[in-house]
Symmetry: C2
Subunit: 525 residues, 2 copies
C-alpha cells in the first residue's frame, strides 16, 4: 500500500502537521506508517479497500488534546475523520469518506464518567464499548441494562451517533440519548440541553433544554466531535419473557406486520421486535454450503429444504416482554390471541427471572447482554466473509414490508445474492436491513455486492423509500435521493456546515454533507 497524503497538502506541510500533532498527543499516538494505517481500511469494503484510506491516525486522550489537534488541522486545512472505536462495519469501519483524511481515533477516551442507578443513565466517552459498559454495570451491581446492538464491541457513542438500534424497550438508541459534550471545529466546547447549567444535575434527565435542541443535529453528521454522551438505561426488570413465532410462508410477512403494528402502537410489545428472514435465522445454525453449492442465489427449493431441516420459519418473529410476571402474562395473552389467526404459525416462549441469563447469543441481546453472534453471518458464504448493508426505512404496513422484501430479494438474486435480512420494528416504521454477504477475496463478488446496493438504492427511491444509513461509498447517492425541492434539506445541512466549519476540516462528505472547500469531491461513484 502506498502512503497517501491529505488532499491539497504537500508532503512537507503534512510532515509539519504530523510533527505538531506528535508534540500534542505523543509520538506513539500518531499512526503514520502505511502498515499501521491498514488497520483503518474498511475490512468489508464493497470495492477497492484503498478507495477510502487515511493518511494518518491520531489517538488523543483528552478534550484538550482534541482542541489542540483542531488548531493544527485548521492551520493546514487537513480534513479529520472522527471514529469512536471504528467498528462501523458494513458501513465503512474506521475508514474516511475523503481519501487522505486523518482519522481522529477516540478509542483511548474510554471512561465511564457516571452511572446513576436511581435515574437510569450513564455518561460515557467515545471509547466505551457495549461490552465495557455491560461489564461495568455487572461489576458494580447496578440494576440497569444496556441495550446492545448486533455487535457488542461497538462504541456506545459511535452507535448512538449513527442511530444504531438494539433489541429491548430501549432499542432506539438515538431516542435514549440525553445530553452531549461537543467540540466544534473552532475548538469551542459546548454541552447540549441542560448541560449548560454548570452545577445542575439534569444534563442526563431532560433532553431538550431551553431553546433549540442540537443533539439530533450532531448525529449522522460532521458538525462537531462528540466527546461525552449521556444514554438512558433500562431498569432491570423483575422478570421477562422471550418469545419466538415461526411463520411458514413467505407471504406471511404482510400479516405479521399488520398484526405486530397495533401491538407496538398500544405498547403490548414495547421492545424492538425483529422479523428475521429464514435464511438469516438459518445462518446462526449452519453454513450455506450444507444446503447449496451452485452458482448464484440459493434456489427456492434449497431454501425450503433448509428451513424444513433446521425447523426454522420462513419468517421468525423475536419479541420480548419485560415486567412483573402478572403483566407479562396479560401481555403475552394478547400476543398469543393476535397471532393465533395466522395458519401454521408456531409460537414458543420462555420465561426468565430478572437476573437469569439466556444461553443463545440472540436471546442474550434481548436480555440486555452484548454479544458477537451476529458475526456468524460472516461464515455463511465461506471464504473471507464480509457484508455490505442496504438499510431502507419501511413504513410499518404489511404492504410496504412485502413490497420491499420482494424488491430486494428479486434484485439480490439477479446479482447472485441470497436474501439475508429482516425487519426491526419501531412503532410506525420498520428498519429493513438486508446484508449482501460476500467473500472479500473474490473480486467478482465484491464488485457485485457494491453494484447490488447501488441498484437497491435506486429501486427504493423509485418506490418512495429512503435509506436510514449507508456505507461510505453510497453516502452521496443516498443523500441525493432526499431531493424534495431540489435538495433543500442538503442545502440546509451544508449551510450549517460552512458556518460551523469554514475550513472544512471535520469529516468532509459524511452522509453527503460536503464543506465548501471540498464540495467538488461530491460524487456518486
Amino acid at each position: 500500500m502506498i502512503r497517501s497524503l491529505p488532499p491539497k497538502v504537500s508532503a512537507a506541510q503534512f510532515e509539519r502537521a504530523l510533527a505538531a500533532w506528535r508534540s500534542i498527543v505523543g509520538e506513539p499516538q500518531v499512526v503514520s506508517s502505511a502498515d499501521a494505517l491498514a488497520a483503518y481500511l474498511d475490512p468489508f469494503a464493497p470495492g477497492e479497500r484503498e478507495a477510502f484510506s487515511a493518511s494518518a491516525a491520531l489517538m488523543p486522550g483528552s478534550v484538550d488534546e482534541i482542541r489542540a489537534i483542531l488548531r493544527i488541522a485548521n492551520q493546514f486545512r487537513i480534513p479529520l475523520w472522527t471514529v469512536s472505536t471504528g467498528r462501523n462495519f458494513a458501513y465503512g469501519g474506521a475508514a474516511p469518506r475523503l481519501t487522505g483524511s486523518v482519522v481522529l481515533d477516540l478509542h483511548r477516551m474510554n471512561r465511564i464518567l457516571e452511572v446513576n442507578e436511581t435515574m437510569g443513565y450513564a455518561l460515557v466517552e467515545p471509547g466505551v464499548s457495549y461490552f465495557d459498559l455491560y461489564a461495568y454495570l455487572r461489576e458494580k451491581g447496578y440494576r440497569l441494562w444496556v441495550d446492545p446492538p448486533a455487535a457488542g464491541w461497538g462504541s456506545v457513542v459511535g452507535n448512538t451517533l449513527e442511530r444504531g438500534f438494539g433489541y429491548t424497550d430501549y432499542g432506539d438508541h438515538a431516542a435514549a440519548q440525553c445530553g452531549m459534550e461537543v467540540v466544534l471545529a473552532n475548538g469551542d466546547v459546548l454541552r447540549t440541553g441542560m448541560g449548560g447549567i454548570e452545577i445542575g444535575t439534569a444534563w442526563q434527565l431532560y433532553q431538550p433544554g431551553y431553546g433549540p435542541s442540537f443533539d439530533a443535529m450532531f448525529m449522522q453528521s460532521n458538525y462537531g466531535i462528540v466527546t461525552k454522551l449521556g444514554i438512558w438505561l433500562m431498569p432491570a426488570p423483575p422478570a421477562y419473557l422471550l418469545g419466538e413465532i415461526q411463520f411458514r410462508h413467505e407471504a406471511d410477512l404482510e400479516t405479521i406486520v399488520e398484526i405486530l403494528r397495533p401491538l407496538r402502537l398500544d405498547e403490548t410489545i414495547r421492545n424492538h421486535a425483529v422479523i428475521e428472514g429464514g435464511l438469516r435465522r438459518a445462518a446462526g445454525l449452519s453454513a450455506r454450503a450444507q444446503w447449496y453449492d451452485g452458482p448464484g442465489a440459493m434456489p427456492e427449493s434449497a431454501v425450503a429444504a433448509m428451513l424444513d431441516k433446521l425447523d426454522v420459519g420462513r419468517w421468525n418473529l423475536h419479541f420480548a416482554l419485560y415486567g412483573t410476571p402478572e403483566l407479562i402474562d396479560a401481555r403475552y395473552a394478547l400476543v398469543q390471541r393476535a397471532f393465533a389467526r395466522v395458519p401454521q404459525a408456531r409460537l414458543s416462549a420462555r420465561r426468565y427471572a430478572g437476573d437469569a441469563q439466556p444461553t443463545a447469543g440472540g436471546d442474550r441481546n434481548l436480555a440486555g447482554i452484548p454479544a458477537m453472534t451476529a458475526f456468524r453471518m460472516l461464515d455463511w458464504r465461506g471464504g473471507a466473509g464480509a457484508h455490505v448493508d442496504f438499510a431502507p426505512v419501511c413504513p410499518a404496513t404489511g404492504r410496504d414490508a412485502l413490497r420491499q422484501y420482494t424488491m430486494v430479494k428479486t434484485r439480490a438474486a439477479e446479482y447472485g445474492f441470497d436474501y439475508y435480512g429482516g425487519f426491526t420494528a419501531g412503532a410506525r416504521h420498520l428498519h429493513h436491513i438486508f446484508a449482501a454477504i460476500f467473500d472479500r477475496d473474490d473480486a467478482n463478488q465484491v464488485e457485485q455486492a457494491g453494484a447490488l446496493v447501488r441498484s437497491l438504492i435506486s429501486d427504493a427511491r423509485a418506490a418512495g423509500y429512503g435509506e436510514y444509513r449507508t456505507h461510505l461509498a453510497y453516502m452521496d447517492f443516498a443523500a441525493a435521493q432526499y431531493s424534495f425541492n431540489d435538495g433543500a434539506l442538503l442545502r440546509l445541512s451544508e449551510t450549517i456546515k460552512d458556518a460551523l466549519d469554514p475550513n472544512g476540516i471535520l469529516a468532509p462528505g459524511k452522509q453527503g454533507i460536503w464543506p465548501a472547500a471540498w464540495r467538488d469531491r461530491r460524487g456518486y461513484t
Copy 2:
C-alpha cells in the same frame, strides 16, 4: 396606544413595505391600525403591555405568500415574529420579543392536511387548534386521541414548537412530533426527515431521516417558519382508568416523587401524571376570596382550612392508565401497592370504557379531550386575572422536588403570591410549573409578579436548575443561565442563526437568540 415602527426603519420605508405586503396577502390581511394591533399585545404582560408591541401583523394564507413576505422583509430588514394562533399565554401571547417587529400570524393556514388512522398521525398547518383537530377526529370517526395541553384553544404546531406538554401517554409533544415543512429566511422550503423523499409515505412515520435531524432545532428557536407539522396520535384505548391520590402533608411531595419515578421508569404509569398543589386543585372548585381576603400570600392556616373544607389534598396526584381492562387492573394493583405506604394517602379511581367521556374538565384532558378549565385560575384572585409562569426543569427526585417547591413557595410569599403550581412527570424529570397569578389592573401586583419570576430564575440557577420555557421578558435572562463555557451553547445558536438569517428578519431575540443585526438589543430587563 401609539403606533410603533420597526426598529431602524423610517415611516416612509415602512409604508412601502406595507404596500408590498398588501399586494401579496390582500388589504384585509394586513393589520396596521393601532386599535387592531392591540389584539397582538400580551394580555398577561408582567409589566408594561407596550414593552412588546408589534408595528403590524400579516396574515398569509399560503407558503407562497410567506415566501413573498420574506422577500420584502429581507429587502427592508424588517423583523417578523411568527405566531401560529398567538395563544402562548403566560409566555407572551402573540407579542414579539423585539418591539416594532411585524407579527406573522399564521392562523388562517388552518388545514388538517392528513389524518392516518392506521398509522396514528396527523399532518397539520399552524392554524389548527387542539379543539379543531379533536372535532375533526370525532366528526370523521377516527379512533385516535389528541393529547391536549392545558388550554385547548392553542395551536398544535405552536404548542409543539414551544415544547408544550399534555396529560396522556403522548404528553411529550415534542417527542411525538414527526416531520416538518419549514420556510427558511431566504424563502427556501424544506421538509425534514423522510420528507425529502418526495413520493414517499414515511414522512410522519420515522423521525430522523438520513443525516442530521433538524426538527428539534426548529423548536423554541427562530431559524425558520414551520408551515406543516406531523404529530403522532395515540390509538383510542379499549378502556382507561383515571386515578387521583390525595396526600395530606406538604412534605409528602418527596415520597410521592420517589414512588412515582420507578412507576414511570418501568412504564406502569405511562401518562404525564400531574402532582398538583392543593391550591391549584382548590382553584378549580372555589375562589380565593372565600378563604382569605387579607394582604399578601394566603397564610398556612387559611390554606389548611380551605383544603379541609374542599376535601382536597395538599398534593393531588392525577394519573391515567390506558389499555385493556386486564392490563389496567394489573397496573392499577401495582400503583395501589406502591402508594399504600404513604400515611393518610387517599386513592380513588374511576374506570371508563374507551368511548366514555368524563365530565370534569381536568379529567377530560386525561381522556384526550381539549378543554379550557385551566383558565379557571384567572378567577382565583379576582380582578382582571392573569398569570406569568416560572417553569424550571426538576430532576425526578423527591429531594429536588421538595427543594424547588420550598424555594418557590418561600420566595413567592415574600412577593405576596400564593404557591399555585404543580409538577408534571416525565420519566426522569418533572416539569415544575408555578403560576404567579395577578390582577392586571393592579399595577403593583403586575410589577411584583414580574419581579418574582426574575428572582425565581436567579434562585433556580444558584441551586443548579434551569428553565424549560419563559415569557418574552425573561428570554435573555433564562438563556444566560445556560452558561457552561462562557455560554458556548448560545454561541452555537447564534452562529447558526447568522448563517440561516443573515439579515436577522426572523424573530430576533426568541429564547435569547439574537441575529448579528440586532444583537445589541439583548437585555435582561
